[in-house]
Amino acid sequence: MDLWNWIEYGAWGLSAAFGLHMAIDWLKTDSSYSEDVLTSSREGELEAMAEEHAEKHGMKS
């Protein structure tokens, strides 16, 4: 086995580490915050106003 074989194993290992870190953090985040908070991002004003209006008047959007 030469250096490049070890580098290959290193690349596999690092890939798994990065993937695992994202997966664990993703699960932790999804279980720590409500879906309402995570998906609360809004592009602009009118849409959000429409939502507020719908909530106030008990309408489903």
């Binding site: 030469d2 250096l3 490049w4 290959e8 194993y9 690349a11 596999w12 690092l14 890939s15 990065f18 993937g19 870190h21 994202m22 997966a23 953090d25 993703w26 985040t29 915050y33 879906e35 309402d36 908070v37 995570l38 998906t39 609360s40 991002s41 809004r42 592009e43 602009g44 004003e45 009118l46 849409e47 959000a48 106003m49 429409a50 939502e51 507020e52 959007s61």
Partner: protein, 478 residues
């Protein structure tokens, strides 16, 4: 209507009316430049030279400049619209506000496919580069490229997941190095410093236009490669501190950088490498700038251009992950796709679900599809996007004339850039049809099928209010 100062530090990342977690506004014009140029510069390092194979060196230069006109129009049009529509999603969001939901859905898919395919192509290229380095340093067996392809995608996805500022600062550094490497190669090989090695007259003699003017037309397909992706700057719109200033500034500085880089690249490579070798990007010159450096006889240039090639590849893949995830996120947020994708990470403030979801798709294409097919799918999706842009700006100016909305940038000579872009798109479609007619027809068929699916099924879930979120006056004629 509520007045919202999007540059306010106390409202950083917080939108109006209940946005609890939003994307972070931390980027400046340099990051926008790095995003646009970073995606594209790999096209200077490899890929553009297929244009030489289609029609000779002069054809590649003509294609370089005509494609340069096409992309200057793209940059100007994009700068005007996106300085007004400062939201994630770029052209998807523009289409949603200016044309309508079906166009927006299609444009969103063009973006995601173009960037994800380009990301896969870059990862394949990075794997190949590692195998070249391995063989140059004495590795006897063929290197297994898969772990390196996967590592590139996983590392860059992880970087994107952790935050946009670090991601695009990384892109700024490696893109700047890759661009400077081209300048250094030009200065070192053309006689500006030391003795030059250019042999244009000898190499071109008798091969001016080997396939005539049809070769020039065919070269247009790969002429796009010099600039493909500069329109990606618009995806940063929701994360720049000052959209009206940073987006036009970064995008226009980006296209100027690319026009210089493309012309210098053509000049140094065509002055050293014979056109038959230069034009064969598979069995001949895979990385022409690197090959030119090798022929210069300078070890320092070989190292510099070697790192330049790798950095350009990584910068491109990195920018593609950034852009594809923003487009996917924006479509999720508006329920054009399941709303689940519209989530923002509460700590890193990135569209983390969109980033992670696109990783396996990029891996499937990077590990399972041939490079030329992946690149062609990316180019065709991009080209459909460019065809949308002139229609978009014409409708934008018609519905909201200059006096009705204040733009961060107003592009000059309207509608000449739009009509020029439309004409050049038509020419390029014909050029693509000459080489990849089956793929072109198959892909248009695919978009027709998904459009029908959207119209008859998905549209019922779409948040229709998302089309009217901009504080614009009523469009003229409505």
């Amino acid at each position: 209507m509520t007045q919202v100062d999007i540059t306010s530090t106390t409202m950083d990342g917080m939108g109006p009316h209940g946005t609890k977690v939003g994307l972070l506004r931390v980027l400046g014009p340099a990051h926008v430049w790095a995003l646009g140029v970073g995606i594209v510069l790999v096209g200077e390092y490899m890929g553009w030279n297929f244009a030489v194979g289609k029609g000779g060196a002069y054809a590649a230069l003509i294609a370089c400049w005509f494609a340069g006109i096409l992309y200057s129009c793209v940059a100007m049009i994009d700068s005007e619209v996106t300085s007004t529509v400062a939201s994630a999603g770029g052209q998807y969001t523009q289409a949603k506000h200016i044309i309508g939901p079906l166009m927006a859905f299609n444009v969103g898919l063009y973006l995601v496919f173009a960037y994800t395919m380009l990301e896969a192509a870059n990862a394949i290229t990075a794997g190949y580069l590692f195998s070249v380095v391995a063989s140059m340093t004495g590795h006897a067996d063929a290197l297994d490229q898969r772990p390196f392809i996967i590592l590139v995608i996983m590392f860059l996805a992880w970087l994107n997941y952790r935050g946009v500022l670090a991601t695009l600062t990384f892109n700024l550094v490696i893109t700047a190095i890759a661009f400077i490497a081209i300048i250094v190669l030009f200065v070192s090989t053309t006689g500006l410093v030391g003795s030059g090695i250019m042999e244009h007259a000898a190499l071109f003699e008798g091969h001016e236009l080997p396939y005539g003017w049809i070769g020039v037309l065919a070269a247009m397909h790969f002429g796009l490669w010099y600039y493909l992706g500069i329109e990606g700057t618009t995806q940063a719109a929701e994360e720049v501190r000052s959209p009206a200033r940073a987006l036009p500034f970064g995008t226009l500085a980006g296209i100027m950088t690319l026009l210089i880089a493309a012309t210098l690249t053509w000049y140094v490579c065509s002055g050293v490498l014979p056109w038959e070798f230069l034009g064969d990007g598979v069995n001949g010159s895979v990385a022409p700038l690197f090959d030119t450096a090798r022929l210069s006889g300078s070890i320092a240039l070989v190292w510099l251009l070697g790192f330049g090639t790798l950095f350009a590849t990584l910068a491109s893949a990195n920018g593609c992950i950034n852009d594809a995830s923003r487009a996917w996120f924006a479509m999720g947020r508006d329920k054009y796709l399941p709303g689940w994708f519209g989530a923002v990470h509460p700590k890193y403030r990135t569209p983390y679900r969109a980033i992670v979801f696109l990783v396996p798709i990029a891996l499937i294409f990077a590990l399972g599809a041939p490079l030329d097919q992946v690149i062609t799918f990316s180019i065709l999706s991009g080209l459909l996007g460019y065809t949308f842009m002139p229609l978009n700006i014409i409708l934008f100016r018609r519905k909201w004339p200059l006096e009705t909305i204040k733009r961060g940038y107003e592009h000059p000579f309207h509608p000449i850039p739009a009509l020029t872009l439309l004409t050049l798109c038509a020419v390029t479609f014909f050029a693509v049809f000459l080489g990849y007619g089956t793929q072109l027809v198959a892909m248009i068929g695919f978009y027709i099928v998904v459009s029908l699916w959207f119209h008859f099924w998905r549209y019922r879930f779409v948040n229709r209010g998302a089309q009217f979120t901009m504080p614009w006056p009523k469009p003229r004629g409505y």
